[in-house]
Amino acid sequence: MVKQTTRILARVFVGIMLLIMYAPILLLMVFSFTEAKVIGSWTGFSLDLYPDLFRNTEIVTAVVNTVVVALSSAAVSTVLGTVGAIGIHYSGRRMKTALEGVSQIPIMNAEIVTALSLTILFVYFGVRFNFLTLLIGHVVLTLPFVVLSINPKLQQMDPNIYEAALDLGARPAHALRRIILPEIMPGIFSGFLLSVTLSLDDYIITAFTRDTSFATLSTYVYGVTSKKGTLPPTLRALTTLIFLVALLLLILMNLRGKKREEGTR
């Protein structure tokens, strides 16, 4: 009897947790199907917000900008992070511990500190804020996460396979390309995805390192809400779409992971 009560209580608890977590998003999603100016008043079902969204050139530009920044910074981070992780892995024991620590400090560091220090650095060297400074900012943000996701793959790898490749006549570059890279590819892939997601929703570093005429989604939303004080209705449709895209990505990644697991079995 007691057992059953605790089980029910546990379920209720989980339910409340999930409700707290998802209520805001659900609310937004529901109200993305009505044209009401403020949330709370339901003025009838309507899909008009969605076409409105794509007619708003400012929003479309912001979306394109965000995607461009996310993909290009993730690409740069992935290349640098892969090279870096491999370099750290094959360093001497003492060097390795030191480098591993140093490369992970930015993860713990407050983002505002990173953003401010980047700004000061650019100003100090007289660099004008442009796309490149923004790109550098996002690379700084995402690089440690790429290293973090590749590192375990390198550690799981049989330490002798690189030597085995050399032993069979492969030069170091060939061994790296044909043996090491395929082995750590899942880590590289998840590092890339992680970079994309981190860059997509970043506000602080973006706000500090961008050219002010260059808007990403986060800076656009923030700009609009702070100017007008209220949430423009189209943003409800936008956030709903972003959430659905993220959900889709998550499902895809999980399916991929499952497939790989079955493959190895």
Partner: protein, 526 residues
């Protein structure tokens, strides 16, 4: 085997091997003065030996003896700090692994998991360039290099897989193979390149006993068929004895003995080799002269020759101790233990306080008196390796203690001046009234093996260290304790310890024998 290595210098237990200039044309690889140092630890210390073409050579020794480091230097993964590695007479010490005509079979296979069996085996072949002759535009003959064709590669892969009995496995995923199958693929991947030398780093270590035995026979067969030189690293003495033409026994980065399996088993050079290879009864004895040796309280006839009255180590293999009629053998004792081993029984006989292990097919009762004989040619006598602990860098501190191996031991400084005594200030007063201050005096310290006390509590002794080896000598153990500063204490003890135990060492003050280095007059205090 002809003598391939001759001792050029003997310092205590350390043997150096020089190489004789015989049959050099048959030599495929030679190590000359090869030393490998990492920070302060010497992994390989001055190795000199050669391997002949087509030979099956094993590096045998406990972990940390330098066998794998030596193999890795031949493969090119590590470089000697000093010395030369000559392959067909040319120094390859600085050649990268991908330019050496040697291939390695790794301990944990090191197969490429993302490639299938075929691509694993073909990996080296796809990188290979073979020379061919052609004529250029001016009609001159030139040598060019080309890749192997797909057909050639496929043929070689199939042949290699046939050698390891896995013909039908080309398209299998590596992860779907058993350990034994993966091991075979690793061998196929190496031999398909037709290396001049095949290096095998404990390749059977991860397999179960039955599989290991099968693979031993197959590897030996492969060696015979292929005619390639095999260099095999193992810590399993039985494996080395079964498979090798020549065994190199190593310990602590030093070569202990090089020889055929028969040589090493029948004529071990020192107590370590005797104890490590096969089962053996090891005793301390005295050579009486005239081919007579005394051990187990009996004087035996023997065939070895040593200076008279020299302390020696004696080895007798358990199967060489033969039961005799009770009361009519060389030595009498009581059987205390009997274990059935399948082919034979293994007995423990007590002769006084000494144990004798005997292997015999005869079934005997335990607890009754027996007599045994040992034939003269089956008693193997070796120079006794360590007679006492000698420290030549010891000195006295200001509390009249002696510093040995970084530890301050209480000692009797009055022994430095005959008939002297200590005054209350700690000065040594000679019978003639002279006052000596031995602070910072350099002394030579000598401590008997039996005077070193081993204590399992690290705090209770003067110096801490790790037990690095333990050899049973009939009625006691000889234990080697090494401190962090690489100083050794060798102790005789009745108690069993474990290798790698951390222990501490104590020496009774009156057991530390000291000799002053330099003139005693230097220390007179006025």
């Amino acid at each position: 085997m002809e003598s391939r290595a001759s001792p050029v210098g003997v310092q205590g237990a350390i043997f150096c091997f020089g190489v004789m200039n015989v049959e050099k044309e048959n030599v495929i690889i030679e190590l000359v003065g090869v030393t490998n140092r990492y920070n302060d630890t010497v992994a390989v210390d001055n190795f000199n030996f050669y391997v002949k073409k087509g030979e099956f050579v094993s590096f045998l020794g406990p972990s940390g003896c330098g066998k794998t480091t030596t193999l890795r230097m031949i493969a090119g993964f590590e470089h000697p700090t000093e010395g030369k590695i000559l392959l067909n007479g040319k120094d390859i010490a600085d050649l990268p692994p991908y330019e050496r005509p040697v291939n390695t079979v790794f301990q944990k296979y090191a197969l490429f998991p993302h490639l299938d069996v075929y691509d694993n085996v073909a990996f080296g072949l796809k990188l290979k360039r073979i020379p061919y002759e052609t004529t250029d535009r001016d009609g001159n003959k030139v040598t060019k290099y080309r890749k192997l064709t797909k057909k050639e590669i496929s043929k070689k892969v199939t042949e290699a897989l046939k050698i390891v009995d896995l013909e039908e496995f080309e398209w299998r995923d590596i992860t779907t193979l058993s350990g034994g199958q993966q091991q075979r693929i690793a061998i196929a991947r190496a031999i398909v390149n037709e290396p001049q030398i095949l290096l095998l780093d404990e390749p059977l270590g991860a397999l179960d006993l039955k599989m290991r035995k099968e693979m031993q026979i197959e590897l030996k067969e492969m060696h015979r068929k292929l005619g390639i030189t095999f260099i095999y690293v193992t810590h399993d003495q039985e494996e080395a004895l079964t498979m090798s033409d020549t065994i190199v026994v190593m310990k602590d980065g030093q070569i202990q003995q090089i020889g055929t399996p028969e040589d090493i088993y029948n004529e071990p050079k020192n107590a370590f080799v005797a104890d490590f290879i096969g089962e053996s009864n090891l005793y301390e004895g005295t050579y009486m002269g005239n081919r007579k040796v005394r051990f187990l309280n009996h004087i035996f006839d023997c065939v070895d020759d040593f200076p008279a009255n020299e302390k020696v180590n004696v080895v007798v293999r358990p199967e060489d101790v033969k039961f005799a009629e009770v009361g009519k053998g060389m030595i009498d004792g009581v059987l205390t233990e009997k274990v059935f081993k399948g082919i034979h029984y293994e007995y423990t006989m007590m002769v006084g306080r000494n144990e004798v292990t005997i292997q015999s097919t005869r079934s005997m009762e335990t607890g009754v008196p027996v007599s045994v004989n040992i034939a003269p040619d089956l008693i193997h006598i070796m120079k006794k390796t360590i007679v006492s602990n000698v420290y030549d860098d010891a000195y006295i501190d200001n509390d009249n203690r002696v510093i040995i191996a970084g530890g301050a031991f209480d000692c009797d400084v009055t022994q430095l001046v005959p008939g002297s005594s200590l005054d209350e200030e700690g000065y040594v007063i000679a019978p003639d009234g002279k006052k000596y201050d031995f602070k910072d005096a350099d002394v030579l310290v000598d401590v008997s093996l039996s005077d070193i006390e081993i204590i399992d509590n690290e705090e209770d002794g003067v110096v801490c260290g790790k037990i690095v080896s333990m050899i049973y000598l009939g009625n006691h153990y000889q234990v080697l304790i090494r401190t962090e500063d690489d100083e050794d204490f060798v102790a005789d003890t009745e108690y069993t310890w474990n290798e790698f135990d951390r222990v501490s060492v104590r020496i009774p003050a009156e057991k530390i024998r000291m000799t002053l280095r330099g003139e005693v007059s230097k220390y007179v205090k006025d």
